[in-house]
Symmetry: C2
Subunit: 330 residues, 2 copies
DNA sequence: ATGAAAGCGCTAACAC
DNA sequence: GTGTTAGCGCTTTCAT
């Protein structure tokens, strides 16, 4: 490559990196040679000496619509930089997630975005000492890394206020049963705590009914069946996620109960499906695209040298659809 | 690292790669040092000389449930190897996909899985000359790379036979309007052609009604509205994908038509949502997990040296749910 | 069976 | 403003 342009390797390197100390003529000559040869610098070689120009994203699975929104924002933000986002699946077990995280580190990524990681604060801090790190979806404010969350307290309050304003008081909640250790920073815990607090604040402490399963469709299904078996049964169910709400709807359908006439249902996340007319789920919207874009910005800033931590919170909004109504209207 | 174990770098390298010519004592010593130091080889440095131990997967977006299945199979297959799968989003435009593909190549991946790529055969062949490549979801049999497809002819026949057996003859179809150039290898084209062929074979040539929009929910919505505006309107709609079928359901809902009493709807892909009781979509199941596992196997084989091309076809099956019934039953 | 040495393709520091 | 040089952390070849 350098030979073809009749210049030194260093000159080529400088042109590619837009480094200073290159004459226009030199730049032009190198540019032409690059085009003629279709030359592309090898990321591995660059990584060995400097940067890999790669942002690694760790997520449990792909296939989750909300994650897709995050990626849209991230890619959009990185588009103007020289950085590329690569993704890796961590799975749902500690061990597989660890392996995936190690794989990113081995590949010398310049920044890491952890989406709702299983790994705890201490371990993330260890990684963050070496590599700029942003955690999305964990309510933890470490000085060692940045975080981005939706304000789950506000979102949950929106849900509860909506239901209570409609006249509900026997409201059930389905949450995600996670390990206790670091649960305080976990989203399901915050949504559940807010649910309980609002219930108490309104004098409905006796009506509190929380079932801990998971945020999956299956978890919602099981949770709803459990809630329905109680007597009297709730007039509304606040599922901790849209996924779980889908399971709730399935269980209600199976039980021959109609929504919202017999029972109101609320989700959280505003996945694309919630908007479908056959579902029409009242839910909380958190702007994943904005969160992803912010993640990209924070990572680029850290790569450029910022060391102080930034903790960003997105304000959610309630989207009211046809799955909620006043109780006993059917 | 080598110093800590009191051996040469070459010895460490051999132990890590399970190369021959290492005594048990040496292996033991190196292993212990690795554990003590928590040593991990840098992929970038390895890539420069040998392999990156990385499989790159290019897909349009994450967030597509079927792609998640493919990844599950791929990761499962690679779990027993030293290879890691990383994903990159190509987006829906030629240009962004090209950029993503280049990014994988720059990162020296050892193998590439292209999921329903926009890029055409010639360009893929160029890549495949350098890097083992598997294409999933394109009906093209190149001698230069492997391919994995669902047998879309069989799947589409299953759909049509089902509808015709129920008594439908005015069946509409919604397809994906792609560039004509290389359309022959594209899935939507094959599904549409099979639809037309079966219609003709049964003497329903006059009833053929194809609307070309896209395989998205919006595309299905628009397509359905177009089909409903015709007179007489179809008694059944075969949407080319579940996504599109969701849009069809939305349009029917809006038009006050009930499914399946007024009109039957069939999708394709058996995404998780199709199974939800509020949707209950009759659709075609293609085993994404099997396809992903096969992709991993083919890539590993190619990395090990296979040069002849393998073309693998998965046999789909029909999943009948409540969105189809005999015509005029309502 | 083991180690010394060369070199993969870049970047950074320095000399000119 | 440009070229030369050293070296990033591995793998590979070749002595020993």
């Amino acid at each position: 490559m350098a030979k073809h342009a009749g210049v030194s390797k260093a000159a080529v390197s400088k042109v590619i990196r837009n480094d200073y100390g290159v004459s226009d003529a030199m730049r032009e000559r190198v540019r032409r040679a690059i085009d003629e040869l279709g030359y592309r610098p090898q990321a591995a070689a660059r990584a060995l000496r400097g940067r890999a120009f790669t942002i690694g994203v760790l997520m449990r699975h792909i296939g989750i619509p909300f994650y897709a929104e995050i990626m849209t924002g991230l890619v959009d933000q990185l588009a103007e930089s020289d950085y590329q986002a690569i993704m890796i699946q961590g799975g749902t077990r500690d061990k597989t997630e660890k392996r995936a995280l190690d794989a990113l580190i081995d590949r010398q990524v310049d920044g890491i975005l952890l989406i709702a990681p299983l790994v705890g604060r201490t371990q993330v801090e260890q990684v963050a000492r070496e590599i700029p790190t942003v955690v999305l979806g964990r309510h933890v404010r470490s000085p060692a890394y940045d975080s981005i969350v939706d304000d789950d307290r506000v979102g949950s309050e929106l849900v509860m206020d909506h239901l209570i304003a409609l006249g509900h008081r026997r409201i059930g909640h389905i949450t995600f049963n996670q390990e206790q250790g670091r649960a305080a920073e976990h989203v399901p815990r915050i949504r559940a705590e807010t649910y309980e607090r609002v219930m108490r604040d309104h004098g409905f402490a006796d009506e509190i009914a929380v079932v801990a399963t998971s945020y999956s469709e299956e978890g919602g299904y099981d949770g709803a069946r459990e809630l329905l078996s109680r007597s009297p049964r709730p007039t509304a169910i606040f599922a901790g996620s849209d996924e779980a709400a889908l399971g709730v709807l399935a269980a209600l359908h199976e039980a021959g109960l109609s929504v919202p006439d017999d029972i109101s249902v609320v989700g959280y996340d505003n996945t694309r499906l919630a908007a479908h007319p056959n579902i029409a789920l009242t839910t909380v919207n958190q702007d994943g695209v904005v969160m992803g874009r912010m993640a990209g910005r924070l990572l680029l800033e850290r790569i450029e040298g910022r060391t102080s931590a930034v903790h960003f919170s997105v304000v959610p909004s309630l989207v009211v659809r046809r799955s909620t109504a006043a109780p006993g209207s059917g």
